[in-house]
């Protein structure tokens, strides 16, 4: 999926494994910030999947992740994301 440019105030973002999404819309309906929507495309199984259409509103609260019955999406706070990525980088270097 193509990245979407967020507004400055974005505090979080989501990752989606589009191929395992079954289009149930839980993430979309229960996102407190209403920042994701269905894609127009189908995935291989014929489902529409979520895309972050208002990234500036995403808090990274991961409610979408807790709701998603297919482990297809998760949200992350950008702060945490940085930490995780740095940690991973450090690990990679160590290895």
């Amino acid at each position: 999926m193509a990245a979407v440019t967020p507004a400055k105030q974005a505090r979080g973002t989501v990752f989606v494994r589009t191929e395992v999404c079954k289009g149930c819309s839980y993430c979309i309906d229960f996102c407190p910030s209403k920042c994701i929507e269905f894609s127009k495309d189908f995935n291989a199984k014929g489902y529409h999947f979520p895309v972050l259409t208002r990234p500036e509103d995403c808090s990274g609260c991961d409610l979408c992740g807790v709701y998603c019955p297919d482990f297809a999406i998760f949200g992350v706070r950008l702060k945490d994301l940085e930490k995780r990525i740095q940690a991973q980088r450090a690990e990679d270097k160590a290895a």
Binding site: V4, T13, C68, F74
Partner: protein, 304 residues
């Protein structure tokens, strides 16, 4: 994982493919088995998310946590968890778990199964394990029907709901699960729906920390069979119903929390009490009887 997409520009770090993030639930799952078999909008997966969060926060060593399921859609949970996991026979996860726990008391044993499995064919084991206060956490995903076999009437199907073996509407009364668990002696009884993800995750955490027979009812939609046959829309519609009709009543008398077809849902933590577990009773009893000759079975428990 390379097929995860991220709005990378949102943070000031450049995301190279090898940095793609993995869903934080993945380490708790048998990744190689995802995607799972559950239908679109099936609530079971959501309960698993809550369980994973409860597990994570419990601080338990995952090598000492075992999960046991029966047969059914929910019965497949064990097979997706990256724990010692046992997919047993229909209705029998509790006695299997009993053997597992008693043979190695250091294990934290979780039984995770469906309403039909635990309360139709498996009802007796539930009642007796609760009576004995066997140290097990039992999670029941209640979707009001037998999902795996195509949506037949379950002892949890509300009167009035249509299911394949009650094709003109169910005319049986259903069990009030928290009440039954309470009546048989469970030490912790809670009900949440998959709409209540935070509370359900917290209940899982509390249940994992509790000693004795713990019962958590997780109401979940079965859109493929139950919702569709009853013209209730798909999963998201059911979650909306859960949201609208739920009333949180901690400590509610379990007698009063029975469910009706699309009616009010009382959720909350209903019971949280102390009672000696079966194994502790045995150890105490034998210590009293045999004195020093008796070696505490399962090692000495640190009094917590």
């Amino acid at each position: 994982m390379s097929n995860e997409s991220c709005v990378a520009d949102a943070c000031n770090i450049e995301l190279t493919p090898d940095l793609a993030m993995e869903n934080p639930v993945m380490p708790f799952l048998r990744k190689e088995r995802i995607p799972h078999i559950w239908c679109p909008g099936c609530g079971i997966g959501t309960t698993v998310n809550c369980f994973v969060r409860g597990l994570e926060e419990s601080g338990l060593d995952l090598n000492n946590v075992a999960i046991v399921s029966g047969i059914g859609c929910t019965g497949r949970v064990a097979g997706y968890m990256n724990l010692d996991s046992f997919h047993t026979t229909h209705g029998r996860p509790i006695p299997f778990a009993t053997g597992l726990k008693l043979a190695n008391p250091k294990l934290k044993v979780v039984v995770y199964s469906g309403d039909g499995d635990l309360f139709a064919i498996g009802g007796n084991h539930f009642f007796h394990a609760a009576r004995r206060n066997m140290d097990l956490m039992v999670v029941c995903v209640n979707n009001h029907t037998y999902g795996m076999t195509g949506g037949q009437v379950a002892p949890t199907t509300p009167r009035g709901a249509t299911v394949s073996t009650m094709p003109f509407g169910n005319f049986e009364d259903s069990f009030n699960l928290p009440f039954i668990a309470d009546a048989c002696g469970a030490v912790y009884v809670a009900r949440w729906t998959v709409y209540h993800v935070k509370q359900l995750a917290r209940a899982m955490k509390e249940g994992l920390a509790k000693k004795g027979f713990v019962f958590i009812e997780a109401m979940a939609p079965c859109p493929t069979l139950y919702s569709r046959r009853n013209k209730l829309g798909d999963g998201v519609e059911q979650l909306k119903y859960f949201k609208e009709k739920s009333v949180v009543k901690h400590g509610a008398s379990t007698k009063d929390v029975g469910l009706t077809f699309q009616g009010e849902i009382v959720v909350g933590k209903f019971v949280d009490r102390e009672r000696q577990t079966w194994l502790d009773s045995m150890n105490e009893h034998f210590t009293g009887y045999f004195g020093d000759k008796y070696q505490r079975y399962g090692g000495n428990h640190v009094k917590d």
